[in-house]
Symmetry: C2
Subunit: 125 residues, 2 copies
DNA sequence: ACAGGACATCGACATGCGTCGATGAAGAGG
DNA sequence: CCTCTTCATCGACGCATGTCGATGTCCTGT
């Protein structure tokens, strides 16, 4: 629904950037944004997808490589991959007939940093 | 449905303990357990609850302290606190008429550690 | 004993979400 | 040109979940 069409594939910037969570009370907007990203990860199928892609050769895999291990239909896998991509956790690259999905390196770490009380120390890169 | 009834209030031990996620493919059971804990956190109201309790004096708060800032009804807040408690993220302590909720120190960090590719290095304690 | 406050539970409602089969679009190959 | 494979989208179904008002339980204070 929304207004009309969301053409941008990644409206959410992976995470609310930097909210310690245990440091200061979250605003309603920050909580909603963070929850949206967390909801993308809080699913068994999507967790396994992230894990499968991460451990795959080259850290990238196509849909046909994932339907088997997951035991889900191709449309369902495609749907989950879209959710993860829109959450900023995966990138899609079309190579000929195949679509290869690669996980965004820093995305999961950023999400983890928000949850933990942290002290990130230094910028990783 | 599961089998029948889960009488134990905390069936999930906060997290699947130690699953790098980006290290080896998750099993269906591990993914389900991890998703169950993540689902408890993937909610705006519950994220704000965690944040409010963490930043509260003594890192513990009663229900009456939380309904106001959240803007939700008392039964709803009580429900969310129950979900967080059953996920192993909060502990409930009844003091007289009031019920004080405190967040389990290591729980969020453990969850964050599973998400990030990490390198735990040393036990944080 | 009685009244009042704090919290949990119950039942109900609306919405969201995961899953599938069927169909459509895009490219590779004979 | 035609066919086959790969993937995305559509429509639909059923279950899970967030929210509330009403009610019940426990404790405190008069």
């Amino acid at each position: 629904m929304a207004t009309s069409r969301t053409l941008e594939p990644t409206p959410a910037p992976a995470t609310a950037c930097c909210a310690p969570l245990t440091g200061a009370p979250l605003s309603a907007e920050a909580a909603a944004a963070l929850a949206r990203t967390l909801k993308a990860v809080a699913d068994p199928a999507r967790l396994r997808l992230l894990s499968l892609i991460a451990t795959h050769e080259g850290a990238s895999a196509c849909v046909c490589d994932l339907t088997g291990p997951l035991g889900l239909s191709q449309p369902t896998v495609s749907h989950h991959l879209k959710v993860l991509t829109e959450a900023g956790l995966l990138t899609r690259e079309k190579r000929g007939t195949w679509a290869y999905f690669t996980l965004v390196p820093r995305a999961l770490d950023a999400l983890a940093a928000v949850l933990s009380s942290r002290t990130p120390g230094n910028a990783p890169a």
